[in-house]
Symmetry: C2
Subunit: 348 residues, 2 copies
């Protein structure tokens, strides 16, 4: 034993989990060398590395995160912050896709995810100290709607964060990752127009979200580019919920019964629209082509299955995690726009 252990030497299985002291003793090296092996093994002889690794396996050593965190001044964790009321989330299939995607992306880096919800203003105030004290190293921010009041709190706390989708409003340089909503909308519209549809209605998303705006823009652009007359009666605005999709569709059918297609800004709303259309005794896609957006799990759960635009959620979550970790390591903010993909199924 070359190390002057201040505490009485501890054998394996003596109750408490083994520490680097025990590893050092077992491997016949010093704490410093053990620590170096744990960080990747630069400047450590192969012999020492093997000895330490053998000791790790033998003793079943796992690093004590609290101790590491204390000295490195880093939490070693990342928060997933949901600043949205619960009822909105239950209907949003994208939320869980993103949450689980981020969890798994973080798992690759051995970074635990701390889930924090802050739907109300009171909850939001409660968690600010938590962030200010840097109990997490960074934040993945989920907020589908409106300008998020947490952004400036996070900026003030100097805590790295990445938004899912471009945040509305002005807040200096902000990292975000999102899909190319406008190009996705354009692709779908091109597909519908090339299929010969001309009376194309739309059920757009809420116009206080970037996604909602962009998808409507894409809709309009393609109509112009194909020289199709623009009809205001063909445009309705939903809120991404199934119910609003059904309601908008009802409105469209009564206002413009001659429509031959509808571009819906989310699969969930498209599902609602399908129900309305079915109840009206019309056939999809025979009478009306229905196009969704998201390629969420509902797209394949409904009948007929939805032709839709696939948002690359796996790549979005992965990219958010990568951006956040980069920012935590000192790199600057960045924005990433990922391409979407047309998925043709039965509804259009």
């Amino acid at each position: 034993m070359t190390d002057t252990a201040p505490n009485r030497s501890r054998r394996a299985g003596s109750g408490r989990p083994p520490t680097i002291h025990d590893l050092a003793a077992e491997a016949g090296v010093s704490r410093g060398t053990v620590s170096r092996v744990l960080q990747g093994g630069r400047n450590v002889s192969p012999a020492s590395q093997d000895a330490v690794n053998a000791a790790i396996r033998k003793l079943g050593y796992v690093v004590n995160l609290a101790a590491r965190s204390l000295v490195t001044q880093r939490a070693g964790t990342v928060a997933f912050l949901v600043s949205e009321t619960q009822d909105v989330l239950f209907e949003d299939p994208n939320f869980m896709t993103l949450l689980l995607g981020c969890t798994q992306a973080l798992a690759k880096y051995d970074v635990p995810l701390v889930l924090i919800t802050a739907g109300t203003e009171a909850e939001r105030r409660r968690i600010i100290p938590y962030f200010s004290a840097h109990h997490v190293d960074g934040v993945l921010l989920f907020s589908s709607h409106r300008g998020n009041p947490m952004i400036e709190h996070l900026q003030r706390a100097g805590l790295p964060f990445v938004c899912c989708g471009k945040p509305l409003g002005r807040h200096g340089a902000v990292s975000y990752v999102g899909a190319d909503d406008r190009e996705g909308a354009r692709t779908m519209m091109r597909y519908l127009l090339d299929s010969g549809r001309r009376r194309i209605a739309t059920i757009a998303g809420p116009q206080d979200t970037p996604g909602g705006l962009e998808r409507l823009t894409g809709y309009r652009e393609l109509l112009s580019e194909y020289g199709v007359r623009h009809d205001k009666n063909l445009v309705t605005i939903g809120d991404y919920s199934r119910a609003s999709g059904a309601a908008c569709m009802e409105q469209l059918l009564s206002r413009t019964p001659d429509l031959d297609a509808v571009f819906v800004a989310s699969d969930l709303m498209a599902d609602g629209a399908l129900t309305t259309i079915g109840r009206a005794g019309l056939n999809v896609p025979g009478d009306i082509a229905v196009a969704g957006f998201d390629d969420s799990p509902v797209a394949t759960a409904v009948q007929p299955q939805l032709t839709t635009i696939r948002q690359p959620w796996d790549r979005i979550s992965e990219s958010m995690v990568r951006q956040l970790l980069a920012q935590i390591s000192g790199e600057g903010t960045a924005t990433v726009i990922l391409p979407t993909e047309l998925v043709v199924r039965e509804s259009a």
Copy 2:
């Protein structure tokens, strides 16, 4: 300054967050007294308490969890472990209800929730050391299906955990919290029978889950108690998914076209059944009464809205959290069965 601070004294706002040293200096007391105030203030004079609290507010102090964790040998966090493949989760509205419920219940105790997914065997193996090293103080276990292999790992690691629903299989004393599935099924069946229905079919849940078994048992019991002849053709087994509900309903309609009600073991399957019934041109509840189970968000999203059995998810998550924290504090295991509630809407 009565405290011999080994590090150069630090003023507020000098970069790094304030520590109890700074608080002690500011309040004119010792570290020990500050620490005592932080733990609740037993054996501290009111004057000292006020001084410390004033200093906390003035300096914006927040405790360093890593340091506390290091000395108390407790992580101060709790894991929410999902050992289920992703695709199952997307369709299960109860999952998110429970997850968000637990997050909020834990927030009341200032305990952060760490989300961990382990759908595959490989992932499961990866996280065992994490648990063994006690990186969390306890685990909330979500697994709707089959016997869970994580249970024995957790028991071996000596880590407190609470299951959601009674786990199948033998594993000694295990804490769990669940709803009274059988009594819920009995209540619903009593309601249907009292409404005059006699040809009552059922779409049961998977028979490798306690809930699925219990709800089917309740169905059978009430038929017997009302002296209604039991017909095997009226029983189908689904897997809680929307698609399986639709398929089972199709089967029922062809096998027993004279049925006048169907008791479905989950709202999601009931939704599928509604679709099938609607497509067959039949009316709900006129021709067929449809009864769901769960009172999940879909119950009110569908048309007609579902008469269903409400599972008290808010109380379940709260109870799980309470049990877990009690167990972490040294108390023994316990099982909690919570009552359900009949919610009458339009479908029955």
